[in-house]
């Protein structure tokens, strides 16, 4: 008898569970794709958001900025994410209008691997740009030694590790190097991929994890990776000389962002930020929406997602290695988000 009642309760439970998906059918589902750099924080947001807000889910596919914009143009996604904003000619292709919103920002660090693991290596502007031009090739180069009197630098060739895949990280990094070194601008330029010097001491690895792993395994290596990644992987990264001539470590980028005013289209580049404490390689990353959408339920969900990102989302940014947006920027983004209808 007892077991029969248990069974009945179980059966009722099953029916309830089976009934629930019918309710869940009402859920609004947003799909997005694009940049891999903000993917960790976006995925955390969306997971938390769908937990708190039962009426919506957001699916995000991290496949690269370029691919995200392509999906957006093909209308296979509701929104895209891109580290390199969106090209003017691409924006012109969208009849509904395009609204770009900076949702978070990040820094790129130069991770290095030196015998004895010295911390806090300082790299002057002309030194690190020339390392990536292939002109400074030894760790005991007089210029590096002069900037780091307290570190004993070995007679070791510098192995430069770069991204092998096409990447927004490379775009931001080369934009900075082009801004500070005219020769870099002339010979390599900027972009998702550039024509790096073809020598034995320039190697390439796929994605942030590939570069990180290669740097860790190669004595004398230096490579550019995202700050969040460097923090996670616990690699040593250099302090870089900024525009004001000061050496700055990454990790307090909010002031850097606040110093730059966002224009009307919300796309601001910081190829070489001012400010004595600014870390020199900093960049926004954007979400891309259509201005006119024909599904009001989706529009509502989009606004909820943006609002969540601007409020709750910013609180976890710092711990994940991203830069929380300053209050001024949040206000501007919120205002611009009203254009999405």
């Amino acid at each position: 008898m007892n077991s029969l009642m248990k069974f009945a309760a179980f059966a009722a439970g099953v029916t309830l569970c089976a009934a629930n998906p019918a309710l869940a059918q009402e859920k609004v589902r947003l799909t997005g794709s694009g940049a891999s750099f903000p993917a960790p924080i976006y995925l955390t947001w969306f997971k938390d958001l769908s937990k708190k807000n039962a009426t919506m889910t957001v699916d995000y596919q991290s496949k690269g900025s370029g691919a995200g914009v392509q999906d957006f143009l093909n209308k296979t996604v509701d929104f895209a994410a891109s580290d390199s904003a969106m090209k003017k000619e691409d924006i012109a292709k969208v009849a509904e209008g395009v609204q770009l919103l900076p949702m978070t920002a990040g820094e790129i660090v130069l991770a290095y691997n030196l015998p004895g693991n010295p911390k806090g290596l300082k790299l002057p502007r002309d030194v690190y740009s020339n390392i990536f031009l292939g002109k400074i090739t030894k760790w005991n180069d007089p210029k590096i030694v002069a900037a780091n009197p307290e570190i004993k630098l070995p007679d070791l060739p510098i192995t430069v590790v770069r991204r092998a895949d096409s990447s927004g990280t490379t775009a931001v990094f080369t934009m900075h190097l082009s801004a500070i070194n005219p020769e870099f601008k002339k010979t390599l330029g900027e972009g998702n991929t550039v024509n790096w010097p073809a020598t034995d001491k320039f190697v390439a690895s796929p994605k942030n994890d590939g570069v990180t792993a290669t740097v860790r395994q190669t004595p004398g290596a230096i490579g550019y990776i995202e700050y969040g990644f460097a923090k996670l992987a616990k690699v040593d990264f250099a302090q870089l000389q900024n525009k004001a001539g000061q050496y700055a470590a990454p990790g307090n980028g909010a002031a850097t962002l606040a110093a730059v005013k966002l224009p009307e289209d919300m796309v601001a580049w910081l190829p070489d930020p001012d400010g004595a404490k600014s870390y020199p390689i900093t960049s926004y990353t954007w979400m891309i929406f259509r201005k006119t959408n024909n599904d009001p339920a989706k529009v509502k969900a989009m606004h909820e997602m943006i609002e969540y990102g601007l409020t709750e989302g910013q609180k976890i940014a710092d711990s994940m290695g991203y830069i929380p947006l300053p209050a001024v920027v949040v206000e501007q983004v919120r205002k611009a988000a009203a254009n999405i209808k």
Binding site: K63, G64, S65, G66, A67, P157, T159, V161, A164, D165, S166, S167, G189, E190, G191, N192, T193, V194, N195, W196, A198, T199, D200, K201, F202, V203, A204, S205, P206, G210, A213, T214, Q217, T218, G220, A221
Partner: protein, 321 residues
Amino acid sequence: MNKPFTVALAPDSVCQPPSRTDIYVDRSFRFLARVGAIAILTLVVALVLEIGGKAVPGIQKYGFDFISGVVWDANTHRFGILPAIWGTLYSALMALLIGGFFGVSMAIFLTQDFLPPRLSAVFRIIIELLAAIPSVVYGLWGIFVVIPAILPLADWLNATLGAIPFFASTLSGPGLLPAALVLAIMILPTIAAVAQDALRAVPLKTKQAAYGMGATHWEAILRVMVPSAATGIFGALVLGLGRALGETMALAMLVGNSNQISLSLFSPANTLAALLALNFPEAGPNEVEVLMYAALVLMAITLVVNIAGSLLMSYAQRGNK
């Protein structure tokens, strides 16, 4: 109704004419088999047409310069894949040299009575397990185990024998040698498995005859067994080479992806498959056309290698008989 079978059968025969079901099953099986065969051909043709079609603008724009060019620069629209072709062939041949030697040796070891049968079955399973490891795991293993392990040896070789072009540069982490070593292990199970089948297919009589004529164990293996199975072993090598040419992820992680042509085993290089995999995700329309062109070249190389392999094999077969 015409019943040819019933006519031919004696009345008390246990044989039955095929029933209507038998005939239908037979016919539909034949139909399915034909559809399958046609589908495979259509698929290959569609693949070539699709890739070729998308590559046409690239071919028109860059022509033969694409194959002989050494620079890949999306910003200035200069594309050349000679370093990638060089790296593909060099790494695949190196891997074949190493993997082929060990693969065939293993096949001999496991089939020619060196081990009790049960133990050799265990070894065989272990080798086959190698084939089940994902490519990306091989890549990580290469970065974290192979590279640190060969770094001291590479430095020593470069310091003492640096005059030889193969050791002319220092190894800076990723490079051709670690890539080729890992690739050799990846193609090893294919080569070992097919070569074992070939050796096992040699009739027992042949071996017994060799022993009967007074041959030693090694004479029997090297003079009789291996030559008799040569065609199959050769096929194993061709299959292994084919796999090595197309391998992507592990190579992308280990080869260094640097566009240069160097004989040195320690220099970073590039391969076609890695180039494709790494550039596709973020490629704009004008880059897609050149990547498709590169894919077409890779397909052509694989095709040429396979055809050359089959030709050599049938030539060897004729020589054997």
